[in-house]
Structures are given as structure tokens and as C-alpha cells.
């Protein structure tokens, strides 16, 4: 019966499989927040300009606001709710706390998901490259310097530059 429904999709989110009935024009961001109550992923601009909605889809960081949920049928998605393991913060989450890498916190879920994606891409070898490859995530509180500090600590296992 499910297969006969053109709006039926299945997404594996943070290790759980969700069968959804979703209209084709619903963004992945709205599906996460409004459909599944996973409100950790934030809606900033909703136009791909701020990075607050960054999630990891099939191993790659993407913008959930510019993604239609139906186009990701069968994908594996990690949101900020799936970053910590067994109640222990991910090293990046811990580093954000230690480096005072947020004020209002609205951009933080996107920053953390983006940084995890960036580290797994393996293309950022210097502080300048980390800054460049994190430029899709805006922080209007001005914590960017501390955000880069936090990422550098985790990326290099503690050493800077």
C-alpha cells in the first residue's frame, strides 16, 4: 500500500528509520522541524545564505532548506540531535563550550554539523583553509574567531596553526 502512494518516502535520521507521507514541495528542513519535531536544525534565512540549516546527508554537509525531502528518499541523515553518542557530547560540541564559540546559539547546530562535514572532507589543512571552508556558516553574534579556535582544536587534536 505504501508503494502506491507517490508521497511515501523513507529517511534514516540519526539511526532511526522514519516512513513519511510528504508532499513534494516540503523542504527537508521543514520535514525535520515540523514533521518530525527535530527542531535542533534551525531555519535562518531559508534561502541558502546563512548555513543554520546545515545537516549531514549520506556523509556530506548540505543545506536542508534548499533540499526537497522527497528527493532524499532512502538517504541517511545526521542532524545535531544525532551528534552526541550515549549521552556524551561530540568532541566538537565540547570544544564549542570550552572556546565560548557561541552567544545566542542559533547558528551553532549548523556550525557543528558543517565542521564535522568539513573535517571528514579532509581538505582543510590550515587555519586559513578552515576559515574559508566554514564561510557558509554565518555567526551574527561575532563568535566566528572562537568557532574557528574550537574547530582547530578538534581537527588537530589540540595543536593550533
Amino acid at each position: 500500500m505504501l508503494s502506491a502512494n507517490p508521497n511515501a518516502i523513507s529517511l534514516k535520521i540519526n539511526g532511526h528509520t522514519y516512513d513519511l507521507n510528504i508532499l513534494p514541495w516540503v523542504s527537508l528542513l521543514d520535514a525535520l522541524r515540523d514533521g518530525l519535531n527535530l527542531t535542533g536544525t534551525k531555519k535562518g534565512c531559508d534561502h541558502g545564505q546563512c548555513g543554520a540549516c546545515t545537516i549531514i546527508c549520506d556523509g556530506k554537509r548540505i543545506l536542508s532548506c534548499l533540499t526537497l525531502a522527497t528527493m532524499k528518499n532512502g538517504s541517511e541523515i545526521t542532524t545535531i540531535e544525532g551528534i552526541a553518542e550515549n549521552g556524551r557530547l561530540h568532541p566538537l560540541q565540547q570544544a564549542f563550550i570550552e572556546h565560548d564559540a557561541f552567544q545566542c546559539g542559533y547558528c551553532t547546530p549548523g556550525q557543528v554539523c558543517s565542521a564535522i562535514g568539513m573535517i571528514s572532507e579532509g581538505k582543510a589543512n590550515s587555519r586559513a583553509e578552515v576559515k574559508e571552508l566554514m564561510s557558509g556558516n554565518l555567526c551574527r553574534c561575532g563568535a566566528s574567531t572562537n568557532i574557528i579556535d574550537a574547530i582547530m582544536e578538534v581537527k588537530d587534536g589540540g595543536s593550533h596553526e
Binding site: P6, L23, P24, W25, S27, D46, H47, G48, G51, T54, K60, R61, I62, L63, L66, T67, L68, T70, M71, S114, G117, M118, E121, K123, S126, A128, E129, K131, E132, L133, M134, S135, G136, N137
Partner: protein, 339 residues
């Protein structure tokens, strides 16, 4: 935002048939531009055709002539970081990485990069006249706030610029766009793919109706030894170019054997002037010669009220980037000016 049906194409022929069958259909690949425009009510469609499942156009292959084929459905990130692109076409790699953000490059495809629309403020503001959005309604940028607009190839109907970085490098490299359509397959030289606004600014390019870009071919010479991409913008990353320059040089000692120069941010298409490249052939790679080439490229440049600075900026960016191309290791992340 309007409602629409969602369908999938499994092959190029299938996609062409579906587009031909419904004038209200819109193909989608990465979707980074089309979804944005749709959310702003700047485009509408009754059917979205997902072409991401066309698996035979999602690779990068070496060609018999020594060139490289970039399939249309490969993402910008996978193209920029592909070992053969990094090694043989580093100019293209640098240009791609100067555009958008890492997240968008993970989503956006090569075909979509060529087809993206302008970021003119007035095109994006449905409350204002725009000949590109609503033909015949007028150009709000002509006498509006036109700081980011074109200085070359403009018309009284449109002064918008084409925003791609990738395409500036593809123009410099003499790429070829491979297209499939209802009339069969054909290839278009990169310089002939995008259009100047003229009196049809609503047509950005020469993709035929119901046509699909299947791949982009790069010729054998990637100018991998002496190259540079320099992008000048209002913030140091994640912004569109005010002026950008792609330079490729073939050198014999201090003498230029062949030069390629293409500009972004200054016109309705990547801007390349062969006369400037002819001028540089056989000349010494000096600041003075690059300045003379810049003046040839900028011949006929016309400023509007707020973008006069772009003419001098373009000249300096050309010279600076050509000097950087002599020392490609001087390039910095984000295509910023070297120290």
C-alpha cells in the same frame, strides 16, 4: 510558491521526453538555484523532473584527445577535488572553490552551474520591473542602485551580470558544452553558450528548448603550470564577485607562448577578448604588458551611476592575477589577493 508534481527521469531521452511533453515542467539536479527562485516566486512549474538518477552522466573521464569530460551531474565539489582536475586543470578547481559555500558546492552540479540565473537585486525583487523576469517591463537597474552590475556588453534592456566563477575558468580553458535535445546531440563552444542581453535578456544562454546539458569537455591544455584565479568581492568569502579574473599562461622562460584571460562579474557572460591574448603572445611577462592587455579587454567598458569603480578594479585585478599566475603557489584560499 506554487504546488507541483514530482517525477523522476531515469535516462537523458526520458528527461527530454518529459520536458517536451509539458511546457510547465522544470528539470532539477542540485536545486540550489531553482528552489531558491521558486521560494521567492520568481519561477513556477507544475512538474519538477528529478534528473539525479541518470547514472550514465555522473562521472569524470579522460578523452582520447588528451582532454577531460566532466559530466553534468557531478557536483561542483567532486569536480573541484577530483585528482585529474586538481592536477591538470587547477585553474578550474580554484575557480569552483571560490564560488558559493562548501555546502552548496556539495549539492550544486556542473550543468546547473552553467544554467544559474543572475543575482541582480532587481531580478530577485518581484515588486520591481525586470526585462529578464518579465520581458518588456523595463530594467530597474539602469537608473537604480547598479553598483554590482555590468560594465561590458550591456544593453538598454539589461545590465545584469552572470554570477558563476566556474564558468569564468571554463571560458578561459576553451571548454565545450555537450547537449542532448529533441533534435539530437550537439556541442557548443563555451564562448557561444551564454548570451549577451541584447533585446532578449530573458534568454541567458543558447540551450535549445527541452535540451539537457549532458557534459562539459576540457581540451588537453589545462595551463597547469602558470595559472591563477582572483576574485574581488565585498567580503572575503561566500559572496559573488565584483570582478574576478581567470588567467592561464604557457611560458617559455620570461616569454608568453600563449595566454588566456577571462573575466567574471563584469558582463552577462564570462568576458574574454582574443585580441588581448594575441597581444600577449611572444611578449615578456611584465606588468606593463599585462596592463596593455587589460586595456584591450576593457575597451568599450561603460559605467553606470554606481559601478564606475569596476573599470579600474577590473584593470588592476587583471594585472594582479597575471602576475600571480607566474607564481601560482602565491594563491590563497578563497581566491583572495596574494600577500
Amino acid at each position: 510558491m506554487n504546488n507541483f508534481n514530482y517525477t523522476k527521469a531515469v535516462a537523458v531521452e526520458d528527461a527530454i521526453e518529459k520536458i517536451k511533453a509539458n511546457t510547465g515542467a522544470q528539470p532539477i539536479a542540485g536545486g540550489t538555484n531553482i528552489i531558491d527562485l521558486w521560494k521567492y516566486n520568481l519561477t513556477s512549474f507544475n512538474e519538477l523532473i528529478d534528473i539525479n538518477n541518470i547514472k550514465d552522466h555522473a562521472g569524470i573521464y579522460e578523452l582520447d584527445n588528451g582532454g577531460l569530460r566532466l559530466d553534468a551531474l557531478v557536483t561542483n565539489a567532486d569536480t573541484a577535488y577530483h585528482p585529474l582536475v586538481e592536477e591538470r586543470y587547477p585553474l578550474l578547481s580554484k575557480a569552483i572553490l571560490a564560488g558559493a559555500s562548501a555546502q552548496i558546492r556539495n549539492m550544486a552540479t556542473n550543468g546547473g552551474n552553467l544554467l544559474q540565473r543572475t543575482r541582480c537585486y532587481y531580478f530577485y525583487d518581484a515588486a520591481t520591473p525586470c526585462n529578464k523576469r518579465a520581458p518588456g517591463s523595463g530594467c530597474s537597474a539602469l537608473y537604480g542602485y547598479n553598483r554590482i552590475m555590468a560594465i561590458l556588453g550591456t544593453s538598454e534592456h539589461c545590465i545584469a551580470v552572470f554570477p558563476s566563477d566556474m564558468c569564468v575558468a571554463l571560458a578561459a580553458l576553451d571548454a565545450v558544452v555537450n547537449i542532448s535535445g529533441p533534435g539530437g546531440d550537439h556541442a557548443i563552444a563555451f564562448a557561444d553558450f551564454h548570451r549577451l542581453p541584447g533585446d532578449t535578456p530573458h534568454q541567458d544562454n543558447n540551450l535549445p528548448p527541452a535540451g539537457i546539458i549532458t557534459s562539459i569537455d576540457l581540451p588537453a591544455n589545462g595551463f597547469a603550470k602558470n595559472y591563477s584565479y582572483l576574485k574581488i568581492r565585498d567580503r572575503s568569502s561566500y559572496a559573488f564577485a565584483l570582478v574576478s579574473v581567470a588567467t592561464g599562461l604557457d611560458m617559455d622562460g620570461d616569454i608568453i607562448k600563449e595566454a588566456r584571460l577571462a573575466l567574471g562579474g563584469v558582463a552577462h557572460k564570462p568576458w574574454r577578448v582574443k585580441a588581448a591574448e594575441d597581444f600577449l603572445r611572444g611578449k615578456t611577462a611584465s606588468k606593463e604588458n599585462f596592463e596593455a592587455a587589460a586595456l584591450i579587454i576593457l575597451q568599450g567598458a561603460t559605467a553606470f551611476e554606481y559601478n564606475g569603480f569596476k573599470i579600474e578594479l577590473a584593470k588592476r585585478t587583471i594585472v594582479r592575477n597575471c602576475m600571480m599566475a607566474l607564481h601560482p603557489e602565491s594563491q590563497l584560499p578563497g581566491a583572495q589577493p596574494s600577500n
